[in-house]
């Protein structure tokens, strides 16, 4: 264990460094906007640096075990400790959160949404970062809960203050929804705590002893956790906050929301709910699977019904997280690997899609699919990036999306023994159909927005049907807003694009990491 | 023994007092009804003290009397205050704040 405890400061530093940045920014006057941005960016970069250092220190041969474990007293009265550690499941998500924050900071450099005030905006983002990172490293339920909740307020304000027209409704909805879930989740945590003899809130301990609880008690406790996490994921009946939140949130908010926040829920399932309550998991798995496939189809239908680009992408998240949850619901290590991979992939791809949507909005001042057309002519690079992400998102082999989607479907063919095979095979077929629908709405989106001639309102002059190669240039003359990808955007996006390709071509980069950790968890459920 | 009669008397007084508090609209009358209740309490204490032959009841009664006096003082002061401002002590009119 000592090996795993070496350098156990890195996690704490990586988690709380952003708060230091917040403190610094507190004392910088509001007017110094550039300085604010600089400090924020530097903080984020430093945090990422620590993250990379963690990567270098991480012992990949023992990815199945908790590493950099640190444990000190925190709330001794209620037997809760400051207990952190990281393993193959947490690591990718932990790093992902850091990367996303950095990219979002870069993007914010010239994209501070109205009503401005970068100071508050960036500070919130840093707090958010701490919350996200902390959630992934907590090894203590109470600590987990605190970090889990910590992300709420900043996101609430991000949506509510810097969001779109309907922001206040959306933000409140987002908040109440999540809070509802986490309140019941907390009750469930406590019940678990007492049912295991009120010894400790440490996750490993509870994983050890949770299985001993009587089955029907487990089912009830699981119900509480289920609601808490399912709201966050979001799973089918609890998803309605998502489209509103995403649509109204500023680009940066949507990106973080899609890339990391949604993962908190699925992560909770894998790390907490399922290993701690194996019997209940067995009971619930078919229903989780059912909700997942419903979500897959339902989300796809939702997408097809959308007229707003951003809202469409938001709904697609419902569908994609459906695949993730389907993988989890099989309770096999194969399925869970797929799920974790899916989380990362979805984080990269959908995050990227939201970036693009934001830039489109900034250029065209609308996301009405009907009004957009011929982007390939006016902003070729942007449109091609959109096309690329669309392809990735619909699960094209060779890009990251596929490795989350296909194995998940595959895994549904043979769920963990004890689960009804026929049920899950039906799920598999439905999910496979889901991939087609995904192709449908994504390509439909791409075809309508990127292909064709630019509409007249954005200077797509139909007069010169014979067209010239300098077409787009002479458009820019009329529409100064409509310009192609800027340098900031390139810098912010390239890493994501690279990641999508990299993990698509070499999925083992992740699977090697995830597999042992998942295996460790699956042994808990006797899989 | 006599205790029960005292208790019954106290109970009756208590009920009268409660009725007064609820039914009366005049602040002073309400105040007096409350005094009634307090006195019923005193009777209770004394009766029990008598039965149990312990001194605590007497002491308590004395305290209640003293405190009641203070309360009445404060109460009348407040009623006076209201009267000054509104030229009326009808409690129903004191419903500016509600909901």
């Amino acid at each position: 264990m000592d090996i795993l405890r070496d350098h156990n400061w890195v996690l704490s530093v990586g988690t709380f460094l952003p708060l230091a940045g917040v403190l610094v920014m507190l004392f910088i006057p509001k007017a110094e906007e550039q300085l604010q941005k600089a400090v924020a960016l530097i903080t984020a970069l430093a945090t990422l640096g620590v993250g990379v250092y963690t990567l270098t220190l991480f012992n990949y041969d023992r990815a199945g075990e908790m590493q950099f474990v640190a444990q000190t007293n925190w709330i001794s009265v209620i037997k809760s400790t400051y207990y952190i550690g990281i393993d193959g499941i947490s690591l990718p998500l932990y790093i992902l959160s850091m990367v996303i924050t950095v990219l979002v900071m870069i993007y914010s450099w010239d994209h501070i949404p109205s009503p401005g005030n970068p100071k508050a905006f960036l500070m919130l983002m840093l707090v958010l970062q701490t919350g996200m990172a902390g959630t992934f490293i907590s090894q203590d339920l109470i600590l987990f809960f605190v970090f889990f909740e910590l992300v709420l307020l900043p996101m609430y304000f991000m949506i509510g203050v810097w969001g779109g027209e309907n922001r206040q409704y959306a933000s409140l909805k987002f908040f109440l929804y999540t809070m509802f879930g986490s309140a019941l989740m907390l009750v469930a945590f406590l019940a678990l705590f007492f049912k295991t003899g009120a010894e400790s809130f440490a996750i490993p301990y509870l994983v050890e002893n949770g299985g001993a609880i009587a089955k029907n008690t487990q089912v009830w406790i699981f119900a509480g956790m289920f609601i808490g996490f399912a709201v966050k994921v979001p799973m089918f009946p609890f998803h309605t906050w998502l489209p509103d939140a995403h649509t109204q949130a500023p680009t940066q908010g949507s990106v973080i929301l899609a890339a990391v926040l949604l993962k908190l829920g699925t992560y909770g399932f894998i790390r907490i709910a399922i290993p701690m309550l194996p019997d209940a998991a067995m009971e619930w798995a078919p229903y989780i699977g059912l909700l997942s496939v419903i979500g897959i189809i339902y989300g796809a239908l939702g997408c097809l019904a959308q007229t707003d680009m951003k809202r469409l992408i938001a709904f697609s998240s419902v569908a994609h997280m459906g695949f993730v949850m389907l993988g989890i619901s099989t309770l096999t290590s194969f399925g869970m690997n797929a799920a974790v991979f899916g989380m990362v992939a979805h984080g990269l791809i959908t995050g990227m899609l939201f970036f693009v949507a934001g830039s489109v909005k900034e250029r065209y001042h609308t996301l009405e699919i009907a009004r957009l057309s011929g982007m390939l002519k006016q902003v070729p690079h942007l449109a091609w990036i959109l096309g690329f992400c669309v392809m990735a998102s619909l699960g094209l082999p060779g890009l990251a999306g596929f490795w989350g989607e296909f194995p998940a479907i595959l895994s549904a063919y043979s769920p963990m023994e004890g689960l009804s095979e026929t049920t899950f095979r039906i799920y598999m077929v439905i999910a496979a159909m889901g991939t087609v629908l995904a192709a449908a709405y994504l390509l439909w989106l791409f075809q309508r927005t990127a292909f064709g001639e630019p509409t007249a309102e954005f200077g797509g002059s139909t007069s010169d049907a014979h067209g010239h190669d300098d077409h787009s240039d002479h458009d820019d003359a009329h529409h100064s807003d409509i310009h192609d990808v800027t340098i900031y955007e390139w810098v912010a996006w390239t890493p994501l694009l690279i990641g999508i390709v990299l993990f698509g071509v070499m999925p083992n980069l992740l699977f090697k990491l995830i597999d042992p950790a998942v295996a460790a968890i699956v042994t808990q459920i006797g899989g | 023994m006599l205790v029960n009669q005292f208790l019954i008397l106290a109970a009756v007084l208590f009920c009268i007092g409660v009725y007064g508090v609820i039914a009366r609209r005049n602040a002073v009358m309400v105040l007096m009804s409350i005094e009634l209740i307090l006195n019923s309490v005193n009777i209770n204490f004394l009766a029990f003290a008598l039965r149990n032959g312990s001194v605590d009841g007497h002491v308590f009664a004395l305290y209640i009397i003293a405190v009641a006096a203070a309360e009445v003082g404060v109460g009348l002061a407040l009623v006076l205050l209201v009267y000054r401002n509104r030229k009326s002590i009808a409690l129903d009119e004191l419903s500016e704040m509600k909901g």
Binding site: W74, I75, V77, I78, P115, A120, I142, V146, E149, L150, L152, L153, Y156, F157, G160, V161, Q168, S171, L172, F175, L176, M179, A183, L184, L186, V187, L190, F194, A198 | V21, A27, V30, L31, I34, I37, L38, S40, V41, N44, F45, F48, R51, N52, D56, V59, F60, Y63, V67, A70, E71, V74, G75, L78, L81, R86, L91, L94, E96, M97, K98
Partner: protein, 503 residues
């Protein structure tokens, strides 16, 4: 002749542990000083009085500390009728500190108002004294006296603004209902005395148990009702919103924090020390009260437009959360956890709520309005206040990592520790309510962050030094207790009765 009489009663002067009651003595002295000084000090230097009051409270805090550190163990005076145990010390400390904050909040407000200042401080201090006595009372008589001692000055404080009709109304309502409630409570006490033939709580404990005759039940119910009124538990809460709205804001802060806390102290004392045997009576009663209080308080708060009134309902709802664990206090071994959670909750609630009232005072200095809309765009022109207000509201809503969450958490923990079905149900009700609550807390945040400034007046807010200090203290406490919840929980943990079941 007297001496013979004394001899006959072989009366011995009780030995008084002056160290033990030093805090009370200091405060009493302070009262006299302020009272006298008020007569001789010229109007322009009346501010001295608040300073004196403040220092009195701080001074009284010193012996509390020394008592806490002295390893004499629990002390008791007047053969057990007045106990100085950890419970009382912790709460005395709490009362003194929150009173000090309230003094800070009041100072400017009172100075600027055109009413007598001396009385204000006298009344405030005496009410505090009553509360301190309450923490130590272990006898029906002393409890009663303490209760009246803290209540009567409060009635007058509520009606402080003499020429303001609202203030009068607040005072009268508070007074009449308060007295009525305490009368009912007294009736219950008389019955208790009748049954147990003693006013000493520990004696009651032995008597009130086993078979519960109607009279015992009635007695317990009436006593609980008396305190339920104090803690403004639904349906005995009706006075609270009106009084809070009408009373001067600092007084409201005082009522909603200190006097409510005193009510809980009394309630807990009686339940734990006097009638633990009657748990079958008061547990269901409190279960219902808690559920009602949380729910009604929240839903009523949702539709308020006056921020003070909204906070009144919010504090009612918070009271429901404090009550929640008491509904299972006697189940299994949960009593310790329940007591801990109550005290913890009182501590964090005091810090947070006082802070929020400080914000209201500061803002209303500019806007001269208690309407919710007056907070519009606060963050845009007073980011400091806005951020602080957000912290306080979030803490009230129980969002980590701010103090409020540990209060809610320990409440849930205690209620679940009992492991009874009713406990779980209550916990779920509480969980749902904690969500509803954010409805109106979030509403205020929305005003501050997302709504325009009313009539575009973005002139800065001048916050006087005492208010700044108060805000600083409470804000710091809110953050610290949230990030290191161990502190609050620790005090909650050590605050146990010297003589009680589970204690």
């Amino acid at each position: 002749m007297l001496s013979t009489l004394f001899a006959a009663a072989d009366w011995a002067a009780p030995t008084i542990d002056y160290h033990a009651i030093a805090p009370e003595i200091i405060v009493a002295a302070g009262i006299c000083v302020v009272l006298l000084a008020d007569l001789f000090i010229a109007d322009r230097s009346k501010w001295l009085l608040s300073t004196v009051a403040g220092f009195t409270l701080l001074g009284a805090f010193i012996p509390v500390l020394t008592l806490a550190l002295s390893d004499g163990g629990p002390r008791s005076l007047f053969d057990g009728r007045y106990a100085i145990d950890d419970f009382s010390l912790v709460l005395k400390g709490l009362f003194l500190l929150s009173a000090y904050v309230i003094v800070l909040l009041s100072t400017t407000h009172i100075e600027e108002g055109d009413y007598y200042q001396g009385e204000y401080w006298v009344l405030m201090l005496s009410s505090i004294l009553g509360m301190m006595m309450m923490t130590s009372s272990r006898d029906l008589i002393s409890i009663f006296v303490a209760l009246e001692f803290l209540s009567i000055p409060a009635y007058m404080l509520a009606a402080w603004r003499k020429r303001d009709a609202k203030s009068n109304e607040a005072g009268v309502k508070y007074f009449l209902l308060g007295v009525f409630a305490s009368a009912v409570m007294l009736y219950g006490m008389s019955l208790l005395y009748g049954v147990a033939n003693s006013t000493l709580l520990s004696d009651l404990a032995s008597e009130i148990s086993g078979d519960l005759t109607a009279i015992r039940v009635l007695a317990v119910v009436f006593v609980v009702v008396g305190f339920a009124f104090k803690v403004s538990a639904v349906p005995f809460h009706t006075w609270a919103p009106d009084t809070y709205e009408g009373a001067p804001t600092p007084v409201t802060a005082f009522l909603s924090v200190a006097s409510k806390a005193a009510g809980f102290v009394a309630l807990v004392t009686v339940l734990y020390v006097a009638v633990p045997g009657a748990a079958d009576v008061w547990q269901p009663l409190i279960w219902v009260l808690a559920a009602l209080t949380m729910t009604v308080g929240n839903v009523m708060a949702l539709r308020q437009t006056n921020i003070v009134r909204m906070l009144a309902y919010s504090s009612i709802a918070q009271g429901g959360f404090i009550l929640m664990p008491l509904a299972v206090a006697a189940e299994g071994n949960s009593s310790a956890a329940v007591l801990r959670s109550v005290v913890t909750y009182l501590i964090v609630y005091a810090a947070t709520n006082l802070g929020m009232f400080g914000i209201i005072l500061a803002v209303s200095r500019k806007t001269r309005s208690g309407e919710l809309a007056s907070f519009g765009g606060l963050f845009s022109y007073a980011p400091g206040l806005g951020a602080l207000a957000t912290i306080f509201l979030a803490s009230l809503a129980g969002i980590p990592p701010l103090a409020g969450w540990i209060g809610k958490f320990s409440a849930f923990q205690a209620v679940l520790e009992a492991g009874t079905t009713w406990g779980y149900v209550l916990a779920v009700i509480g969980a749902v309510n904690s969500v509803i609550a954010f409805g109106y807390y979030g509403n205020v945040m929305r005003e501050m962050w997302m709504r325009p400034v009313p009539n575009g007046d973005t002139s800065a807010i001048a916050t006087p030094a005492p208010l700044k200090l108060a805000l600083g203290i409470t804000g710091l406490a809110t953050l610290a207790l949230g990030i290191l919840p161990g502190v609050a929980l620790h005090f909650g943990d050590i605050a146990v009765f010297s003589s009680a079941f589970g204690g």
